[in-house]
């Protein structure tokens, strides 16, 4: 028992520290508590309770068909390894097209053919999603092209400005500068 530890009057702070130092880790519980609202918001988003996505773009007419389009997350594209940057969109088909539409695609810029129509949607006609690559040389005034293919082989296309489809993506493109 060294004298220095007992003779020197310990400060109040050091008493508190020594008494509670092994209980400070209880504060780690604040992490899941803090993330809990986010967790439940995400679960609701994944389940579709809070709509198609975080930001509804609206109804887009594509030939005889139409679809409701939304940004899954109201945020810029995310990097995905070798695939580059991906941006998630979700969609729901019109009631009449549920049985008629074979596939729906998204692409930045007009597709040259059906074979290059872009990223295909996965899911059901009631709620489907796709991760669309956003090349970093995309211009802020680019168009988002929607291609819909019928079971009979027919094809219809429409486009909306990227700025309308995803302001967050355009802001991201402007910020990092359109690369040549």
């Amino acid at each position: 028992m060294s004298k220095s530890t007992t003779v020197v009057q310990p400060s109040r702070l050091s008493v508190i520290w020594h008494k509670w130092r092994f209980h400070i880790n209880v504060l780690l519980l604040l992490i899941p508590l803090g993330f809990m609202p986010r967790y439940f918001a995400d679960q609701a988003l994944f389940r579709g309770d809070s709509g198609l996505g975080e930001r509804e773009i609206g109804e887009v007419q594509v030939g005889p068909w139409s679809l409701r389009l939304a940004e899954f997350r109201n945020e810029p594209p995310l990097p995905d390894g070798a695939a580059g940057y991906l941006k998630g969109f979700s969609a729901a088909l019109c009631d009449a097209c549920v049985e008629q539409v074979k596939a729906t695609y998204l692409r930045i810029g007009k597709p040259r053919s059906l074979r290059a129509a872009g990223s295909i949607f996965f899911g059901t006609p009631y709620s489907m999603g796709t991760q669309m690559p956003v090349p970093d040389k995309t211009r802020a005034d680019a168009e988002l092209w929607i291609t819909m293919e019928g079971w009979d082989g027919s094809m219809h296309q429409a486009s909306i400005p990227l700025s309308q489809a995803s302001p967050a993506t355009v802001a991201w493109l402007n910020k990092q500068g359109a690369k040549p």
């Binding site: 009057q9 899941p32 579709g48 709620s127």
Partner: protein
């Protein structure tokens, strides 16, 4: 260094491994224990999840009968996945898409095809897994940092096991003469408890911490885009693989039961337990199930229009490294052999949680004792001058 001081050092290391983070470790142990039986807890709370057999000889329905029963009851629902839980007292879990855009899980009776109810919005199983697995920290870019935080605990846990066995002299004797002294005060009781439950959980702590080390490695590999998988990427179906239909309606698909038969011809002994219906017109039908080796799944991927097998993933397709790594998760969760294995994992999960608590109790009791002793001595030495010696490190003093 003398033998005695070396064992003192090991003792110190052992106590310091979990002490500063005991509450975090405890909550991770408790949530993990709950996660093991989370499905069973939901089953107890939610009668709709139970598979009641209408009569003793009622046979299980085939997957086509299930689909058509759902179609009859709720014509607008679109089925995305059917899973048959391992234990027969669970109803089928069917993921469906509703016209309002919501994706929900419904419980379907495997004998009658009746939709018994919708899974509650609060998914207890997913929540306990998320809390245990990544401390609820969201996955935004790669693995969540919560995942690293939790899986990192594998290292102090493994070190606790090793140092505990080093400190506990001739621990194997504890198997033959178990000691649990109840009437010698709390300090003695918790000490005995800690040692006794420790030696009986050697295997469990080893399994849990080694598999958790793998979860840490898995995250590091994935975040650095390093893959050890030998599984080929299955390309989407070609345009020619999907028939055109003149009248503009979707072409017919092979029946699910027929698809399972085709898969069984390819994979002997295959039992389909999960069916993933195609995600779009160009994607495949995916059938998964276990074979002779309960820790891994096998799968067959079929063209849903022709029934042609596009790919299969058998036990024999795995490299020996994959046999080890793919077995890690079921070994960690105890989900590979039905209810009894889960109950064993649950029991030892509780024991492990109590190990953390008893370790803490031993330390606090020892501290209290040491503090009291120190105070007594100070009183003797310098009457009236004694300070509460709270800031001393008693575990360094009284070993």
């Amino acid at each position: 260094m003398s033998k005695k001081s070396r064992s003192k050092l090991w003792f110190l290391v052992h106590s310091w491994l979990a002490l500063p983070i005991w509450f975090f470790v405890l909550i991770v142990c408790v949530t993990g224990t709950l996660a093991v039986v989370s499905q069973e807890i939901v089953w107890l709370v939610n009668p709709q999840m139970r598979a009641t057999q209408p009569s003793d000889d009622a046979p299980l329905l085939g997957y086509d009968q299930i689909i058509s029963a759902i179609k009859t009851a709720e014509p607008q629902l679109l089925v995305e996945r059917i899973s048959r839980p391992d234990e027969s007292h669970f109803a089928l879990e069917v993921n469906v898409s509703q016209p309002d855009g919501r994706s929900v899980t419904v419980y379907v009776n495997p004998y009658t095809g009746v939709i018994q109810g919708t899974a509650p919005d609060f998914n207890f199983r997913a929540f306990t897994r998320a809390l245990h697995g990544w401390w609820l920290v969201p996955f935004t870019n790669g693995y969540s940092w919560g995942w690293y935080l939790v899986s990192f605990l594998a290292l102090p846990m493994l070190a606790s096991l090793v140092t505990g066995l080093v400190v506990y002299k001739r621990f194997w004797k504890g198997f033959f003469s178990p000691t649990l002294r109840l009437r010698h005060g709390a300090r003695i009781f918790w000490g005995d408890f800690h040692r006794l439950s420790g030696i009986w959980s050697i295997w469990f702590i080893a399994v849990i911490s080694v598999t958790a080390v793998w979860f840490l490695i898995e995250a590091i590999l994935s975040d650095n885009h390093i893959s050890i998988s030998s599984e080929p990427v299955i390309a989407a179906m070609s345009r020619e693989g999907v028939p055109l239909s003149a009248d503009g309606s979707p072409p017919p698909r092979v029946s699910l039961d027929h698809a399972i038969e085709i898969a069984q011809q390819r994979i002997p002994g295959f039992e389909a337990s999960t069916i993933n219906l195609p995600g779009n017109a160009y994607s495949h039908l995916d059938i998964r199930g276990r074979g002779w080796y309960p820790l891994m799944f096998q799968s067959a991927t079929l063209n849903p229009y022709s029934g042609e097998v596009a790919a299969s993933r058998l036990l024999s397709d795995r490299t020996s490294l994959e046999f080890v790594t793919e077995s890690m998760r079921p070994l960690h969760t105890g989900d590979f052999g039905g209810l009894w294995i889960k109950l064993i994992w649950f029991f030892f999960g509780l024991v492990l949680s109590m190990m953390v608590l008893s370790g803490l109790l031993i330390w606090t009791k020892r501290t209290a004792l040491a503090t009291a002793n120190a105070l007594k001595r100070e009183h003797k030495k310098q009457r009236g001058q004694a300070q509460p010696a709270l800031h001393r490190e008693p575990s360094e003093v009284h070993l």
